[in-house]
Amino acid sequence: MAWTNLQSDLAKQDYVASDDLSVALHLALSLGRPILLEGAAGVGKTEVARVLAAAKDTRLIRLQCYEGLDASQAIYEWNYQRQLLAIRAAGETGKDVETRIFSEDYLLKRPLLAAIQEEKPPVLLIDEIDRADEEFEAYLLEILSEFQVTIPELGTIKATSRPIVILTANGTRDLSDALRRRCLYTYLDYPDRHTELAILNARCPDIETHLGHQIIGFVQKLRAEELEKTPGIAEMLDFAAALMGLGVADLTADPAVLQATLTTLLKTQSDQANITTEVAQRIAGKAA
């Protein structure tokens, strides 16, 4: 099946994709629809896009959204300095100079415009769409359905290739129904023990089996604790790298080392205060 091919392509790039995600991505590719990935921070939403671009051997164009992001940052902007210079240098007026300075040479392409003008369909990652404001979301809708950009001075630029669009969100605000409807949807959760172990083995192939099991058990138990910021997969990998770097073979061996490496997992002061050496030892003991 085609979606299992995709899954193994992603696996070649060291990304362990669940069946649900693989089916959804496969559909997004074959139906030409954007896909919206939601989930907590650190479950590999952004990574999907990077890996997919690598698997398809194409460019990744990334647009990081933030509050106040507007068309001039996301789509295009005229290069005003060059335009001014051109008008002065030419000394001409009227129609000639107008057509010249409003030509593509003077256009600064931002991610969205760049993405639809690529030769080979790129992967367009619109990261944290929920951080951008609603006006931008509305604008995005237009581009995602028509794949064309209208520039008043230049006319409509049609897509030369349809990019593979991946949107990510982690619930900073509610997205509009209209946007949700246009996209395929997948919710990414923290992986289960088995999947996470596969991820760890893919990313850190030389980890010892015993330690690997202990790390996964520890992180999974830690997620069940009441934390302000639950550690994601990236944190788990940092944790594993830290332990391997320190040459630890067993989590329960040295409480002080374990506590020191917890800085890779716990990212707020109150979380660090809550998980004391005793608590960490208890969790590590259970995980073993």
């Binding site: 089916v23 559909l27 933030y66 106040g68 005003y80 300075i101 409807r181 996209c183 997948t186």
Partner: protein, 393 residues
């Protein structure tokens, strides 16, 4: 495979089954249009539709739009396609079925269920009224038992209209001036280059006029939490009217009730019919005029809804008298976490209007350091007068 639903012999084919499934989802409150049916069919051609897990994955990607949908999808899928081999007679629902008026209210009733079940997992600190010892005394002589009373008796339509006016003015006062996006304006702090270049063409490249841009005002989002415990029941009328008005005036506002539990009433209050909105709210406010757990409820709010709905542009308004049966640390901790989300917190306390009022209630005292504004409000007029003060936040 034996679990797969058998369809009646006169079933017109797979396409009709899929559209029947989408109608089934629609009846259960998922927002789907005709385009999704088409997309679902297209999606099924790209995978092996005879494998239930694959078609489930494909249909889930197409038909769901948010986490809540995803959580319910499996059950809905199973009930339609995996009906233990039972014969499903009606595949395509009749037109009248989906167009019926009750569909809307059914959906919302579901929403209530969900919030209800969420709350059930948090243990009540005791049993209702017993907790409010001491706190209810202030108004005890004038209070009837509102436990089973309909909110419609409390709030009149004209109150709502009045409250709507007040809420609208408050919303206008609460503008945020921190947008990073700029718009063309006659007076502004930055040059509008695109316009300058355009206009300078007419003058041979000399920029004679310099159009400007400025930061536009942004509306702030209001999240209002109203205490409807026993000690507050005297003021509930005004505050509930205010909430109802707020919801109608501002389509981004968010409202919650709390007593021993926390209930989100935003959806219910958005009902077009003001009185029906109140009726639905009374269904949710079960336990109205009971005890108060401010700390526990705010902490729950900070952990759940606030993560989705509260951001730097939000003003959280708490309408409560601060008589709390939870330990005060819980309250100050919850407010501290809320505050970290960058919102402004305003506490409106009906008792503050009293002469010689001091924040002696332990809860209130614990909350004070976290508040951006602490004011009195026991009538709609008071709320209206807040306008100037809130504008300065």
């Amino acid at each position: 495979m034996s679990r797969v639903t058998k369809f009646a012999a006169r079933d017109p084919g797979p396409a009709a089954r899929v559209s029947g499934f989408l109608a089934h989802l629609r009846d259960n409150g998922l927002r789907l249009g005709v385009a999704e049916t088409e997309l679902a069919l297209a999606a099924l051609t790209h995978i092996d539709a005879s494998v239930p897990d694959q078609s489930k994955g494909a249909l889930r990607a197409v038909c769901t739009g948010c986490k809540e949908d995803v959580e319910r999808f499996d059950e809905l899928f199973t009930s339609y396609w995996m009906d233990m081999g039972r014969v499903r007679q009606k595949v395509v629902p009749t037109m009248g079925d989906t167009a019926k008026d009750h569909v809307h209210s059914f959906r919302n009733a579901e929403g209530e269920d969900m919030s209800g079940s969420g709350d059930a997992s948090t243990p009540d600190g005791g049993d209702g009224d017993a907790e409010s010892d001491g706190t209810g005394k202030l108004v005890a002589t004038e209070t009837q038992n509102l436990m089973n009373r309909d909110l419609r008796d409390l709030v009149q339509p004209k109150d709502i209209a009045e409250a709507e006016r007040v809420a609208r003015r408050l919303g206008a006062a609460l503008r945020d001036r921190r947008s990073r996006r700029r718009k063309a304006a006659r007076k502004g702090d930055r040059l509008h280059f695109r316009k300058i270049i355009r206009q300078s063409l007419a003058t041979g490249g000399e920029p004679l006029s310099l159009p400007k841009k400025h930061r536009p005002d942004r509306a702030r989002k209001i999240a209002a939490l109203c205490d409807v415990s026993g000690s507050m029941s005297l003021y509930a009328q005004i505050f509930l009217a205010f909430l109802a008005g707020l919801m109608r005036a501002d389509d981004k506002a968010d409202a919650y009730l709390f007593h021993t539990r926390l209930v989100r009433i935003t959806e219910a209050l958005r009902d077009k019919d003001a009185m029906r909105a109140l009726a639905r709210m009374s269904l949710m406010a079960d336990g109205f005029a009971g005890g108060t757990r401010i700390g526990g409820n705010l902490s729950r709010f900070a952990d759940t809804y606030a993560k989705r709905f509260v951001d730097g542009r939000t003003v959280v308004i708490i309408l409560s008298d601060g008589y709390d049966t939870d330990p005060p640390e819980l309250l100050s901790d919850a407010l501290c976490r809320l505050k970290k989300r960058g919102c402004k917190i305003i506490w409106l306390n009906p008792l503050k209007g009293w002469r010689d009022y001091e924040a002696t209630a332990a809860g209130m005292a614990a909350a004070l350091p976290h508040l951006d504004h602490f004011a009195a409000a026991n009538t709609l007029e008071d709320l209206a007068n807040l306008e100037t003060e809130l504008g300065q936040l």
